[in-house]
Structure formats: C-alpha cells, structure tokens
C-alpha cells in the first residue's frame, strides 16, 4: 500500500511556482502544462502499480482465452464452422474481458482515498480521468488486441486476416475503456456492482461490437475493411472527447 500512496502523492505534488508577472495567456499555458504533467504522472503511476501486481494484467487475458475455448467445445471442433462464427466469438469475448477488467479501474483508488485526493488536488479531473482510462486501455485493451490473433488462429482464421483483427480490437477497445470508465465511476461504492455495471455499459457498447465484428468478418474474408474501421475510429474520437468529462463528473458525484 505504501507504494500506492507515495506515488499518488508525487503525482499531486504542488507545482513549482510559475513566474509571477506572467500574462494571462502564459498562466493559461502553464495551467495546461500542469494538467498534462499531472495526467502523465497519474498514467505512469497506474502503469507502475499494475506491473507490481501482475495478476490484474493476466486475469482478463486468461478470461478472454477461456471464453474463446468455450465455443469449440460447445459448438463443434470443425474449423470451417468455427471460422464462420469467429468474428462474433472474438468480439463477445473481448467485450466481456474488458468489462471484467473495469473492476480494477477505480476500485482500489476509491478504497484508499487516491480518487478523493485527485478530486481535491486542483488539477483538472477530466485530464486525470483521461490518463487513468488511457492506462486502463494500455493494460487491458492493447494486450487483448495483441492476444486476439492467437484466439483467432485457434478458430481457424487465416493468417492474412490477423493484422486487421489486431487493429480493429485495438481501436474498438479504446471506446470500450472510455464507456466503461463512465459506468465504473457511476457505480463506485455500490456493493456487488458487477451485474449493474454490465447492465449500464453493455447497451452503450453495442455499436463497437457491431462495427468491430464487421471489420473482423471482412478481414477474414479478405475484403477491404476500411469502412467499419473508420467508424470504430470515429466512435473512439467521440469517446475521447466526451467520456473523460462525463467520467470526471461521475467521480465527483460519487465522492459527494
């Protein structure tokens, strides 16, 4: 726990005094620079903590592999049949794995008061939320994307389709992390919030599932997949713009 607290304290340490006579514009720039620095420190802190507690990193990946394994056992070991359902299987498994990982996003920080310190620090909570979500994506979304080829190969996906699958999962999981950050912030402090969290975030995640599965399907068929990928990217951009604002507001509501 001491590592958690000291690193949080460092991220929030008071800024060195900025030049006093600076013009308004300079102080605005300094504010932005301070917010960015705080966000960078929060990001590094979350990454450091995750690498010291590797089980959090591995569990969603193991879950992803496990769900993928269920389908050949439940349906059929025939690769031709599995290939037909592979896009759906991969995306449902990725969606559930990223949902499972949301639990780690705020829980410990809310528990030991770090989140409260973030809210009181005077730094932009929106940027801090953005940093936390970015760390969450680096720790779950990106590894899931890198693991998707393995799961894909086990479902009979041709090798040529793998790059497309990696890109689509990587882009789609950005939006999943962002939507999840709102849901996780809203349900902070609710005991046994797992089912509620899934009820809140899954309906909002459906567009990602639709476009992601479509991109994967096109990749497997060897067709150009730019259209669904661009839609996924558009969702990610919209999410990056709006979700940290909403997550910051939700955290403030939860801390009241």
């Amino acid at each position: 726990m001491s590592a958690r607290v000291t690193s949080a304290a460092r991220a929030l340490a008071p800024e060195p005094a900025v030049g006093q006579g600076g013009a308004a514009a300079a102080s605005l720039g300094a504010d932005a620079a301070a917010a960015l620095r705080a966000a960078r420190l929060a990001l590094l802190r979350d990454l450091t903590l995750a690498f010291r507690q590797r089980s959090q990193l591995i569990q969603p990946l193991a879950f992803f592999a496990m769900v993928t394994l269920l389908f050949p056992l439940a349906i059929s070991p025939e690769l031709s049949r599995l290939r037909a359902i592979a896009p759906g299987v991969l995306w449902v498994a990725a969606l559930l794995a990223s949902l499972l990982a949301l639990e780690f996003l705020f829980r410990d920080d809310a528990h030991d008061g770090t989140l409260e310190q973030y809210a009181l620090s005077g730094q932009s909570l929106t940027w801090l939320m953005f940093a936390k979500t970015a760390a969450h994506w680096l720790l779950t979304g990106l590894p899931l994307a890198l693991m998707a080829p393995l799961a894909g190969l086990s479902l009979g996906v041709p090798v040529a389709a793998l790059p497309g699958i990696v890109v689509s999962v990587a882009v789609g999981s950005v939006t999943l992390s962002l939507i999840g950050s709102i849901g996780a912030a809203l349900t902070l402090g609710i005991k046994r919030s797992g089912t509620l969290l899934s009820l809140l975030t899954l309906p909002l995640s459906l567009p990602v599932l639709i476009f992601g599965a479509r991109a994967t399907e096109l990749a497997i068929n060897g067709a150009p997949l730019a259209a669904p990928l661009e839609l996924l990217a558009a969702l990610a951009v919209l999410g990056i713009t709006l979700a940290p604002l909403a997550a910051a507001a939700a955290v403030r509501i939860s801390l009241e």
Binding site: S193, L200, I210, L235, S254
Partner: protein, 245 residues
C-alpha cells in the same frame, strides 16, 4: 417576459399543486382520444387488403414505440435541466419518467412480437426497430438499476441524470449502427412496419392514438411526479397541510 414561472418550478409545494391541477386536463382528453382511436381503429377502419385484421395491432404498437423514445427524451432533458440549473424537480420528473418509459417499451416489444407472428410467421425477427426497442429496454433497466443501487437520493438523482444524458448521446448512435448492421444481414422476407401509405380511415385513428398516448403519458407523469415530490419532501412542513384538504 419574466422568468418567474420558471423559478417557481424550483418550489416543491408549487409543483405539487400545479401537477394536481393539471392532471385532469391531460387525463380526460387522453381517455377520449384513446377511446375514439380504438373505436376507429378496431371497428370502423377497413381490414388491410394484405394483412387482414392483423394490422390492427399497429394502433397499440406504433404509439407505444413512439412513446418509448419520447419518454426517454423527456427523461434526458429533465435530467439535463436538473444537472445544469440544479432544479430538484427535474430529478423528480426524470425518476418518474423511467418506469413509464420502460412500460411503453415493453408494450411495444410484446405487440411487435405479436404483430410479427401473422406477418413474418415468427414471433421474433431481428428487425432493426425491434432490436433498437430491446436495447432501449435495457437502457431503461440500467437507469432504474442504478437508481435502485444508490441509497442516497441525491446521489442517485445526480448519477442517474448523468447516465440519462450519456445515454441520450448514445441512442442515435446505437439506432444507426443497428440499422447499418441489419442492412448487412438483410433477411429476404423482412417487412417494414407502417411504411406503406395508409388510407385516411386507417390513418386518422392512428393519429388519435398517438395524441392520446402522449396525453396519457403526461397525465401519468404528473401523478407519479406528485408521488415523487411527496416522498422526497416527506419531512417538510407543507405536506400535512396539503394532505389535509
């Protein structure tokens, strides 16, 4: 123009009295319109030349589907007003909307499935509208689940309001992505609801039902709003005075 009428909405006793006064003005026209629409739709309108009498369920299905979206919009707007201007009554309106909207959504789904049985030969077709309705039902359930999960009323109000606003940003995206998804996997026999041009004798009862359902929603909302205000203000001194009369 002054803003007094707007500021008065911040006062719970005023809102309570206003809701009580307005309810009959919506309830009676709603009852008349729905009775007229049902008579017109179920008895007077001729049977459809393709769908026979089966099409008549549209008189309940279409207004419910319309209301399910409109209630969500009302809820999101009330929630946004409450969040932005910190008007507590807005939270009460949003909270009162959710069960009504979920009920309309449920009715739209059930009547849609019943409509599907004679038209498609199956109770459930992954038609984009039915699928969107189903997702909307989950959005309502999530909203109500979040409210139920948070014990503190104030926190439940603000958290669920944020969820409603975030959901309203997402509803059009979900709707269009579902439509896009459906256009890729178009089943050969899909028939769209209500697309063909309607004869006047069929259309007039439908418009009456739409208006009737809207007024009915407002009337029920006002009744529920009074309940919400009472339960939120149960410790206030004006309550015994109002309830005595």
């Amino acid at each position: 123009m002054t803003w007094t009428w707007f500021h008065r909405l911040g006062s719970p006793p005023y809102v309570y009295a206003l809701a009580a006064r307005l309810t009959p003005w919506f309830a009676w026209p709603a009852a008349l319109l729905i009775a007229g629409g049902l008579a017109g739709g179920l008895v007077l309108a001729p049977p459809d030349y393709q769908q026979g009498d089966g099409f008549r369920i549209v008189y309940v299905h279409a207004p419910s589907a319309w209301m399910s979206l409109m209630v969500y919009m009302t809820m999101a707007i009330a929630a946004a007003v409450a969040l932005i201007w910190r008007i507590k009554v807005g939270h009460a309106v949003a909270a009162a909307c959710a069960p009504i909207g979920a009920s309309f959504t449920f009715v739209a789904l059930v009547t849609g499935a019943l409509y599907g049985a004679p038209m498609w030969g199956t109770y459930w077709e992954w038609d984009p509208r039915l699928t969107s309705e189903l997702i909307l039902l989950f959005l309502y359930l999530g909203y109500m689940g979040l409210r139920a999960g948070l014990e503190d009323t104030q926190r439940a109000d603000r958290a669920s309001a944020l969820l409603a606003v975030a959901g309203s940003v997402n509803v059009p995206i979900i709707h269009y992505s579902v439509t896009w998804w459906n256009s890729l996997h178009q089943a050969p026999t899909v028939m769209q609801f209500g697309k063909p041009k309607m004869a006047l004798a069929m259309l007039v009862p439908l418009l009456m039902m739409l208006a009737g359902f809207t007024l009915y929603f407002v009337a029920v909302l006002l009744v529920r709003l009074r309940g919400e205000v009472l339960s939120r203000e149960r410790a206030a001194s004006w309550i015994p005075e109002v309830l005595k009369t």
